[in-house]
C-alpha cells in the first residue's frame, strides 16, 4: 500500500453514522431571533437549590478526587433503596448498581458489554435518536421496529416477534417514551416480556422518564415476573431532578453485566464526577417535594398543549408521560421536515420533525412542553396562525 492511498483515517462505522436530524434544526433555529423553542428535550426548571447546595458543600469539604469506579457506595445504596421503594425490586448496591455519566453513557456501556460483532438489537421506533447509533458503535446491527400511531405508538408483541432473528440479542425499550410520551402499562410490558422469554432475549429498559408519569403509576420492566434477571434498568437524574447538565445516570441489573460495564467504564471514563454524585445523594434524600411540584406543572402544561392542538384540528393523543406531545400534522399535507421548517421560518417556533426519531414518526412533530406557560401559549398562537395560512 502506498503512503498516499488512504482517503480517510475515520472508521467506517463512524463514517456511516448519520448526523442527528435534531442537529440540523438546532443549526437552523439558533441563527434566528425571537424563536420559541418547543424543541428542548430537558426540563425548564433549574436543579432544586438544596441539590446545588450539596455540590457546593462537597467542594468546600474538599471532595475533589475520583470516586470508586462504579460510583460512591453511598449513592449506589440510595439508588438501590429508591428503586426498592418505587418498584419493590431488590438490587445489591455493591454488585448490581453502576453510576454513569448520564443515562447515555449507561446505554453505551450496556451495549458494549453485551454486543459481539453482528449481533442484532431491536430498536423500537420512534425512539431517542442515540439508540441505533449506539448499537452500531458497539459493533451491533440495529433492527428497527415501527410502532403504530393508531395504537399510540405502543410496541405490539406480534411486531416485535416478527423482527426477531437468530442474531437478536437484546431489545431497547423506553417507557415513558421520548419522543412520543407513550407509557406502557404493566399488562403491555408483560406481553412483551412473554416474547423476550420465548426467544431468550435481554432488555435494555430506558426508564429515565419514569418519575414523569401523569395518569398511572410507572411500571419498570424489571418488575415484570422473571424479567429482573434479563433486564438492565437504565436511568438517571437529568429529567426527574432537572439535572441534565450534571451528567449523572445509572444502570442496575444482573451482577455479571454490571461488572462488565464497570470494567469498560474503568478503562474509559474512570468514574462519574464526584460533586455531581454528592448532589445526587441529596436529590434522592430530600427532593421529593420538588419532583412532585415539577411533575404537577408538567401535567398541567401537557393538558393545556394537548387541548390547544385538538382545538386547532390536529390529532393529538394524551401522552401518559415524559414532557413531549406528538401531534399528527398529516392533514396539512406536509412531511414532518417541511412542516417543522416552514413553521420555524414563518412563525419562529422550533419543533422537532417526527421522522428524525424513525420512519414511523413521519407525519408527526415532537413538541416539548417543558417551557413556561407564557411561552407555550405564544407558541400555540403562532402554530394556529401558521395553520391558517396553509
Amino acid at each position: 500500500m502506498s503512503p498516499s492511498s488512504k482517503t480517510t483515517y475515520l472508521s467506517k462505522t463512524v463514517e456511516q453514522l448519520q448526523p442527528s436530524g435534531i442537529r440540523r434544526f438546532f443549526d437552523l433555529a439558533s441563527k434566528m431571533d425571537n424563536v420559541i423553542s418547543l424543541g428542548v428535550g430537558e426540563p425548564d426548571f433549574v436543579t432544586p437549590w438544596n441539590v446545588i447546595e450539596a455540590s457546593f458543600h462537597s467542594l468546600e469539604k474538599g471532595y475533589t478526587a475520583y470516586t470508586a469506579n462504579a460510583g460512591m457506595i453511598e449513592l449506589r445504596t440510595r439508588i438501590s433503596a429508591y428503586l426498592k421503594k418505587k418498584y419493590q425490586v431488590d438490587y445489591d448496591p455493591e454488585e448490581q448498581v453502576i453510576v454513569t455519566v448520564g443515562a447515555s453513557q449507561a446505554i453505551d456501556l450496556a451495549l458494549r458489554a453485551l454486543i459481539d460483532p453482528g449481533d442484532e438489537v431491536i430498536v423500537v421506533e420512534p425512539s431517542f435518536v442515540s439508540y441505533a447509533p449506539a448499537v452500531s458503535l458497539a459493533g451491533g446491527i440495529p433492527v428497527k421496529v415501527d410502532t403504530d400511531p393508531l395504537q399510540q405508538f405502543k410496541l405490539e408483541p406480534e411486531l416485535l416477534e416478527k423482527a426477531i432473528t437468530e442474531k437478536t440479542k437484546a431489545i431497547m425499550l423506553c417507557s415513558p417514551n421520548n419522543p412520543t410520551g407513550t407509557v406502557l402499562s404493566k399488562d403491555e410490558l408483560a406481553a412483551i416480556a412473554a416474547v423476550v422469554k420465548k426467544y431468550d432475549l435481554f432488555v435494555l429498559s430506558d426508564e429515565i422518564y419514569g418519575e414523569l408519569c401523569y395518569d398511572e403509576k410507572h411500571t419498570s420492566f424489571s418488575q415484570i415476573p422473571e424479567m429482573k434477571e434479563r433486564t438492565l434498568l437504565l436511568s438517571g437524574f437529568s429529567k426527574a431532578f432537572a439535572m441534565t447538565g450534571w451528567r449523572l445516570g445509572y444502570a442496575v441489573g444482573p451482577s455479571e453485566i454490571i461488572k462488565a460495564m464497570t470494567k469498560i467504564h474503568q478503562y474509559t471514563i474512570m468514574s462519574a464526577p464526584t460533586m455531581a454524585q454528592h448532589a445526587a445523594i441529596e436529590a434522592l434524600d430530600h427532593s421529593e417535594t420538588s419532583v412532585q411540584e415539577m411533575k404537577k406543572s408538567y401535567r398541567q402544561r401537557r393538558n393545556f398543549v394537548v387541548k390547544e392542538f385538538r382545538e386547532m384540528g390536529l390529532n393529538c393523543y394524551l401522552p401518559g408521560g415524559a414532557f413531549y406531545v406528538f401531534p399528527s400534522i398529516q392533514k396539512t399535507g406536509f412531511t414532518s421536515e417541511e412542516f417543522a421548517e416552514k413553521l420555524l421560518q414563518e412563525q419562529r417556533v422550533a419543533v422537532v420533525p417526527g421522522n428524525v426519531f424513525g420512519r414511523s414518526g413521519e407525519g408527526y412533530i415532537r413538541c416539548s412542553y417543558a417551557t413556561s406557560l407564557k411561552q407555550l401559549d405564544e407558541a400555540m398562537k403562532r402554530i394556529r396562525a401558521f395553520l391558517q395560512t396553509i
Binding site: S20, V40, N178, N303
Partner: protein, 166 residues
C-alpha cells in the same frame, strides 16, 4: 381527583399568577370553563380567595419613593379577646400592610409602608405607641427586598438551554 384537589390546583395557579385566564386554567386542570368559573366563584364567596394583588418591585419605578418597616410590638392582651382586639386596632390603619401574631420575644409583627421614614416615625410615635395595650415597639427599616411572596426580585429567569436538544 376530587373537587377539593381541583380547587387546590386552581389556587396554586392563581397564587403564582392572578391574571391567568380562566380558559387556560380550565385547560391545565382538565375542567370546563364553566366548572372552573364556578369553583373560583365559590372560593371567592368563601373568602378562600381573599383578593387578587400584584407584586411590584417599586424600587424600579422612576421617582417613586417609599419606605417599608417591620415593627416588633409587645402588647398586653385584653381579657376575653386576647390579642385580637389590639391587632384589629392596628391593622385598621391603612398604612399597615400586614399584622402577624408571633411566638417568641414579642407579640405582634407589623409591616408598614409609607412615603418617608418620618411618616413611619410619626405612625409609630403618634399612633402605635399610644395605644393603651402597646408596651413597646422596635422598628426595623427594610433596606432592600431580595425576595417577596416567593418571587426573587433580581432573579434572572432567562432560559439557559440551547434551542433544540435530543
Amino acid at each position: 381527583m376530587t373537587v377539593n384537589d381541583k380547587k387546590i390546583e386552581i389556587l396554586e395557579l392563581l397564587e403564582k399568577d392572578s391574571r391567568l385566564e380562566v380558559e387556560k386554567i380550565a385547560k391545565m386542570t382538565d375542567l370546563s370553563v364553566e366548572e372552573t368559573n364556578q369553583l373560583i366563584s365559590e372560593m371567592e364567596r368563601d373568602h378562600i380567595i381573599a383578593g387578587y394583588s400584584t407584586l411590584i418591585d417599586w424600587t424600579k419605578v422612576l421617582d417613586y419613593e417609599g419606605v417599608t418597616a417591620m415593627i416588633d410590638v409587645k402588647v398586653t392582651p385584653t381579657r376575653g379577646v386576647g390579642f385580637d382586639k389590639v391587632a384589629e386596632r392596628i391593622y385598621r390603619f391603612p398604612e399597615v400592610e400586614a399584622v402577624y401574631l408571633m411566638s417568641g420575644a414579642y407579640d405582634l409583627s407589623v409591616l408598614i409602608e409609607a412615603k418617608t421614614m418620618s411618616d413611619i416615625g410619626r405612625f409609630v410615635s403618634d399612633k402605635l405607641s399610644t395605644l393603651e395595650s402597646v408596651l413597646s415597639t422596635t422598628t426595623h427599616f427594610v433596606l432592600k427586598k431580595y425576595k417577596h411572596d416567593g418571587i426573587i426580585f433580581e432573579g434572572d429567569d432567562d432560559d439557559k438551554r440551547i434551542m433544540v436538544t435530543p
